[in-house]
């Protein structure tokens, strides 16, 4: 199966991001495709890491033609330096950007006629972090296991667990996933199975950014007027 002809693309860092976003959007009634595998209204393409994604931005924007194009990157350790790297790429294709990333996600275009280009920095365009920090917002505040997963992970670290401090939330989430009905599901499937919620503030902001970027109208919920 080849990519969907004519479908716009959302470029993400890797397959984990691809499946997470695919299933989150499905829970918002938006059916995307996996680039090169299954068709959808937007193809989600895993590029292979943040450096490769940054390096592909100019090509992706210039070759998107009249189709909108989006990029989802982790802010990682510094929101400022990641945004600076993004701005540098957008400047090369003459898309103006603000000094700090808009909290609702960036959407810009070249002049008045160019196609929309969007950038979302995980988790929320405001904090450093990665997709795990975004997913963490989708765990219920009253979830009894989540604090226990944090404590257990911290305890494991003290006992010599090898993960780095910057991956602490990732380790906690995987610990938490290990205690669900079917242990050890990947993020995307865990969203599909509703272990994760779909409607945290950050998730709704992300979906709103996505709809605006790709011009996707919000469908009424079944049964609504």
């Amino acid at each position: 199966m080849t990519a969907t002809i004519g479908a716009p693309t959302l470029h993400v860092e890797g397959p984990e991001d691809q499946h997470t976003i695919l299933h989150l959007l499905l829970r918002h009634n938006i059916a995307c495709g996996l680039a090169g595998k299954s068709p959808g209204i937007v193809d989600i393409n895993p590029v292979g890491g943040a450096p490769a994604l940054l390096d592909s931005m100019v090509d992706a924007i210039e070759l998107a033609g009249s189709r909108p194009v989006g990029f989802v990157l982790d802010a990682d350790n510094s929101l400022e330096s990641r945004w600076r790297a993004v701005r540098d790429r957008l400047a090369r294709v003459c898309i103006p950007t603000p000094d700090v990333p808009p909290t609702a996600g960036f959407i810009g275009r070249l002049g008045n006629a160019g196609a929309r280009t969007g950038v979302w920095l995980m988790p929320d365009n405001s904090d450093r972090g990665a997709i795990e920090h975004f997913l963490d917002t989708l765990v219920g505040e009253d979830d009894a296991l989540r604090p226990h997963a944090r404590n257990a992970t911290q305890q494991a670290k003290k006992l010599g667990a090898a993960f780095s401090d910057s991956d602490a939330v990732k380790a906690e989430l995987h610990t938490w996933l290990a205690w669900q009905k079917e242990p050890g599901l990947r993020y995307g499937v865990a969203i599909k199975e509703k272990y994760f919620a779909h409607d945290s503030e950050a998730a709704i902001a992300f979906v709103t950014w996505f709809r605006t970027l790709y011009g996707i109208a919000e469908l009424p919920l079944p049964g609504a007027e």
Partner: protein, 375 residues
Amino acid sequence: MGVRQNVDLVEIDKFPFVQRVLADNLARVNLFVGENNCGKTSLLEAIRLLAADSEAGAILSIAAQRGEFAPGGNGNSQSASLPVSSFASHLFGGHSFEAGKYLEIAGDDCLGVLRLSVAALDEENHPVDAPGTKEEDAVVIGIKLALYVERLGVEDADFWIIPGGKVLTMNGNTTSPRFRRKKSIRSLFAGSDMFFPSELARLWDDVLVSRRDGEVRSAMRVLEPRLQDIAFLAGNTDRSNSPRTGIVVALEGEKRRVPLGSLGEGVYRLLALALALSWCRGGILLLDEIDTGLHYSVMGNVWRMVVKTAIDLDVNVFATTHSYDCIRGLAWLCENHPELGEQVSLHKIDRSRDHSVACDAERIVRTFANGIEVR
């Protein structure tokens, strides 16, 4: 190699759909990609018009290929009164075919500039200054609307195309006007009809007479290394209802020649491409939907044959595709045969831009590896 300079620029002004499009950084072999109606085929047509020795004939051939006009009318009396817009309006974006509209196609020094203008004519076929006159209005007031074609800088290049596809020179002569360059450019537009056996047989005859059949066999061996020779059976190639008969090939290790059709559609199409390339030696080959009928697994080798043969025979190739596999094949070529890849360029044509986005071999490989959709 290369007495003639390759085309390195094509620019169309007042273009259907996009007003203006410029494709530069052209290579020996160029692939145009983009959405439907972005103007890919129109770019091929523009190059065809520029390269043609007889512009009027080329316009009518393009209309015929688009199914808008039957050359010669086939005895249909209605064709004599077919309005000019019925076979030329798409060049002008269809809806805006009226006096004063014009289309300008500029190539490099090799191709020159072509300007097609729509003008109202009086009853003696002289143009009258009435911009905005539409064809239906012109009929009412007894003025004919015509297409004015001129190769700038070439004398005696003016003629009109009037209803029914009839061609008039400025002095009223109805003989078919031809405009010769000092050195004519051979060009071939390969639409789907190129792949009928009768058309292949015509190209094969030309290849035989000019003793270039060896080139065709060499090209074919890229995909079928066992191939020793090719033969067209006399009297068998006109059967358009059995389109794959009449061509046989000798394969190494086989006692009898086998029908080309038995080797699969891909080999048949490859023969058509090899013949077209050979026929266009030193000229221009235009391939609309180059991948039609070819299995995705052979596209890399098809590109290898096309690019290698284009270099060997000094042919400038312009092709279009919608196919992901066709682009994948080109990316494979660029990565695995860099010496051929440097002769290749991919151009994204887009309605929202007046300039194509050009990709050289390195960028083709990079964008493909990053999963970027270029169609």
